[in-house]
């Protein structure tokens, strides 16, 4: 198992039955891989199957064709190695903050004593800044605090991979910013491998090392993989001053506005599903050259 292909999506296809009985192919023959320790975002319009890709990675859904491989093993079902942060936080409302986190911890380490479980859970609650709110029920928390609990729950099982499905989309801008900062800090500290779905271009630029662009569904495919040209130690308040910031931002927005729709009709001649083109938007205003398969376009 190589670290460069820690997560490897190999030719997955997913079809759903429409109400009239016909089959709709959401996406077909999708290939991409994620190296260990990388933060990868997936961007695309609703209906392109982003959430389905994440569900396949979490093991909650299975592809009709192809495999998803993590750490050298094909995914056959949910696993404690891959933690999910749900869009709707999905806390158990009858349990307290501490209870929600200990539920995950006892599932991960069933043999641990109660005191050890609680101590471990408290450490993660503190890490997401919720110290003092352990006894509260989810209904007593604000949206941002609920999602913090969701993050603490996911991190507390010390997963190999963190999967996030638009985790901040239901939050107000200010809360979203602070939570992004915290998630980024925690993930950098621990070298966490992350796969995250988002609609938010700025969120992707701030958080991701790589951004996977999905074309519109049905029959969606990976159009290209964008490498983030910004330095790893980026600062939320400074990134817009970086020369490459608007290059990548415009590139992503241009994709979402037009190319996600037209990509399939004007596919580059050398497009290879197994090796979607890797693009690195740079500061220089230049038309994007068609990239070599599997290679990084010149910066």
């Amino acid at each position: 198992m190589s670290d460069a292909k820690f997560i490897s999506i190999e030719g997955i296809t997913r079809r759903f039955k429409a109400p009239d009985g016909s089959l709709t192919t959401v996406f077909r023959d999708v290939w991409f891989s994620i190296p260990r320790g990388e933060f990868v975002c997936m961007i695309g319009h609703s209906g392109c199957g982003k959430t389905t890709v994440l569900n396949i990675l979490s093991g909650l859904d299975l592809p009709d064709e192809g495999v998803a491989i993590v750490d050298g093993k094909a995914i056959e079902g949910p696993s404690l190695d891959r933690a999910v942060i749900f869009q709707s936080h999905a806390l158990l409302p009858w349990r307290s903050v501490l209870g929600n986190v200990t539920y995950a911890v006892t599932s991960r380490w069933p043999k641990w004593a109660r005191a050890q479980v609680e101590e471990h859970a408290r450490r993660f609650i503190e890490k997401v800044g919720l110290k003092g709110a352990e006894a509260k029920k989810p209904a007593q928390l604000s949206g941002g605090m609920k999602q913090r609990v969701g993050i603490a729950r996911a991190l507390s099982i010390e997963p190999k991979i963190l999967l996030m499905d638009e985790p901040f989309s239901a939050l107000d801008a200010l809360t979203r910013g602070t939570l992004q900062d915290e998630v980024r800090r925690i993930c950098l500290e621990t070298g966490q491998t992350v796969f995250m779905i988002t609609h938010d271009v700025d969120e992707a630029i701030y958080l991701a090392d790589k951004i996977i662009l999905m074309t519109n569904g049905p029959e969606a495919l990976v159009a290209e993989i964008v490498e983030n040209p910004l330095p790893k130690d980026r600062d939320r308040n400074q990134i817009h001053k970086h020369p490459a910031f608007y290059a990548i931002r415009n590139h992503l927005i241009d994709f979402l506005v037009t190319r996600s729709r037209t990509f399939k009709d004007e596919m580059p001649a050398n497009y290879d599903r197994r090796h979607p083109p890797v693009v690195r938007p740079s500061g220089a205003p230049q038309p994007l050259p068609p990239s070599e398969p599997g290679q990084t376009a010149a910066a």
């Binding site: 909650l60 933690a83 999905a90 009858w94 209904a139």
Partner: protein, 279 residues
């Protein structure tokens, strides 16, 4: 100004006093000058009485009767003369048995029905047909097959408590949010632990609503069932006192049936509040 709670309580007391007064005036009728004999009884004996006291007891008679019963609730002077408390205990015992059995059947079965839509659809026609049947319609069948009147009453309680709990459990279990189950699945929680740690607490408020409906129906039905099977219980007591033409005892029994029913419902309501979670 007084609080709304105090005002409504005052109003309740006023309504009660007015009702009692009207009742008292209505039954006391003219001054009793005739023989000290119940006019109904007199009519039965072929004696014509005029201006006698009504057979309908007044609130004072009821109060006196109530005090009498409360002083000696558990005496037992043979089959036709038992204390009101004792009779209520007999009824409560039957309800507890039939209702308990119904819980043991309805909640596990409801779980299965709720978890498997195929079984839900397969059993639905039977449930829909059985649900509206008056539990007393089962009585002859129960008497014929069980051949024991006391057990038959318990069976009738069982059958009438079953449906609301079964339907509510299935409904609650089927309605557990997918995301909560997904949380458990991603944590590799076993099916058994999922049932106990996710489905049960999530469905509990709905299940207890079913239990509340059931205990209400069971308490309604036990009175009628005991009138039919006889022997012991508050329903038998009411029928027996009717045969004795002791309307005062009947009214006291009605009052007690109402109070016990209210207590049962309050107990379950309190339980329901404890397990209900805000979202």
């Amino acid at each position: 100004m007084s609080s709304p709670g105090l005002r409504s309580a005052t109003l309740s007391i006023v309504i009660f006093l007015l009702f009692t007064l009207a009742w008292h005036v209505a039954v006391s009728g003219g001054a009793s000058g005739g023989p000290a004999m119940d006019p109904e009884y007199a009519k039965l004996m072929g004696i014509k009485v005029e201006g006698g006291k009504s057979a309908m007891p007044g609130p004072l008679d009821i109060g006196a009767k109530l005090v009498e019963h409360l002083r000696k609730p558990f005496y037992d002077n043979g089959p036709n003369d038992k204390g009101l408390g004792l009779q209520l205990l007999f009824s409560l015992g039957r309800v507890a048995l039939g209702y308990g059995l119904a819980i043991l059947v309805a909640i596990p079965l409801g779980f299965v029905i709720g978890m498997f839509p195929v079984i839900y659809r397969a059993l639905d026609p039977f449930i829909q047909v059985m649900k509206p049947v008056s539990p007393l319609a089962w009585m002859p069948l129960a008497l014929y097959t069980i051949k024991d009147s006391s057990l038959s009453a318990i069976f009738v309680i069982f059958i009438c408590s079953l449906w609301p709990m079964l339907i509510n459990t299935a409904f609650g279990v089927a309605g557990v949010r997918k995301e909560w189950l997904n949380v458990a699945r991603t944590l590799e929680v076993s099916s058994w632990r999922q049932a106990i740690t996710v489905i049960l607490p999530a469905a509990a408020p709905t299940i207890v609503t079913g239990m509340r409906i059931s205990i209400g129906i069971a308490w309604l039905v036990i009175v009628a069932a005991e009138m039919l099977v006889g022997g012991t219980g508050i329903g038998y007591f009411v029928w027996n006192e009717w045969n004795n033409l002791s309307i005062a005892n009947v009214i006291v029994a009605i009052l007690m049936i109402g109070l016990v029913g209210m207590a049962l419902d309050l107990a379950l309501a309190r339980f329901q509040r404890r397990i209900t979670f805000p979202e």
